[in-house]
Structures are given as C-alpha cells and as structure tokens.
Symmetry: C2
Subunit: 91 residues, 2 copies
C-alpha cells in the first residue's frame, strides 16, 4: 500500500462518515420538531454529557478520548445550530 492507496481508503471512509453525519442530523431534526410541539427546550446539557461519556467509554482508539470528545462536541454543536435554524424558519 502506498500513500495513494491509503488516501483512496480515507476518501471512501469520509463519504460514509458524511452520510452518517447527515443521517444523525435528520434524527436530531425529528427530535427538534417534537420538542417544538411539546414546548421543550432544544438544548439539554445532561443528554449531551451522556452522549460524550458513552462515546468515550466505547472508543477503541487510536483517536485519544479527548479527540473523540472534541469531535462529537462539534457534531452536537452543528446539530443544535441546524435545529435552531430550521425550527425558527418554521415559526
């Protein structure tokens, strides 16, 4: 395997990650809709903490736990922004 072979594998994995990140965003939007109907707060810090703890507990590496935490903090943050934007557009 040379650099180009590994890059081809990375490119393939990246598309799968991209698809899953969008799948996750769709689910988060469904939750956002329910929360809006029921007038529940969009941001629930305990749930986000639980998500991060669980992922760190399941982390096989080589990414260090701190990296997993930072990566998913970004995921949660982007999902929250998207929910907020779409929810406010539907007022």
């Amino acid at each position: 395997m040379d650099i180009d072979d590994w890059r081809a594998k990375i490119d393939e994995v990246d598309l799968r990650i991209l698809a899953l990140l969008n799948e996750r965003a769709r689910y988060a939007l469904e939750i956002g809709k329910i929360k809006k109907c029921d007038r529940l707060p969009l941001f629930k810090p305990e749930r986000e903490q639980k998500i991060l703890e669980r992922l760190v507990a399941h982390n096989p590496g080589p990414l260090p736990d701190a990296a997993v935490r930072r990566l998913f903090e970004r995921v949660l943050d982007e999902n929250r922004s998207l929910e907020k934007e779409i929810m406010s557009g539907e007022e």
Copy 2:
C-alpha cells in the same frame, strides 16, 4: 416515534461514526509512517482543501455545506495531531 426512539437511533449512528473516525485515523497513521520514512511533510494543505471540496460537493444535507466543512476541518485537525504525536514518539 417519540424522542427516546429517535435518541436510540442517534446513539446507534454515533457508534458507527466513532468506528469510522477511528478507521480513518488508522489510515492517516499509515500515511504518516510512509511520510516519515520518505521524509515528506506531514501537512499538505492542497490535499486537505481537496478533501473538503469533495465532501461539500457530495453533501446530501440536511447539514449545510459550512457545517460539513467545519466538521471535517476538526477531523483533519485531530488526525494531524495524532500523526504528529505518534510520529514524534517513535523517534
């Protein structure tokens, strides 16, 4: 589907994303090893730009393109830190 059902789906997707992020990191480390042997620079901004452009071009949404870019900038950043750390540890 209620909130808990959607959350269960998110939890399942998150584990798959976690596995793929670690798979990607393993490939990046392989590239790092080759680069070290051949004394090539670890950071190649053109390659990173190409990765981001390609992902934005393939983005099906609902995540906006700017979110995809921010998410993968974090992925690239974490991969670079990991490579740097592991490479220096093997000196």
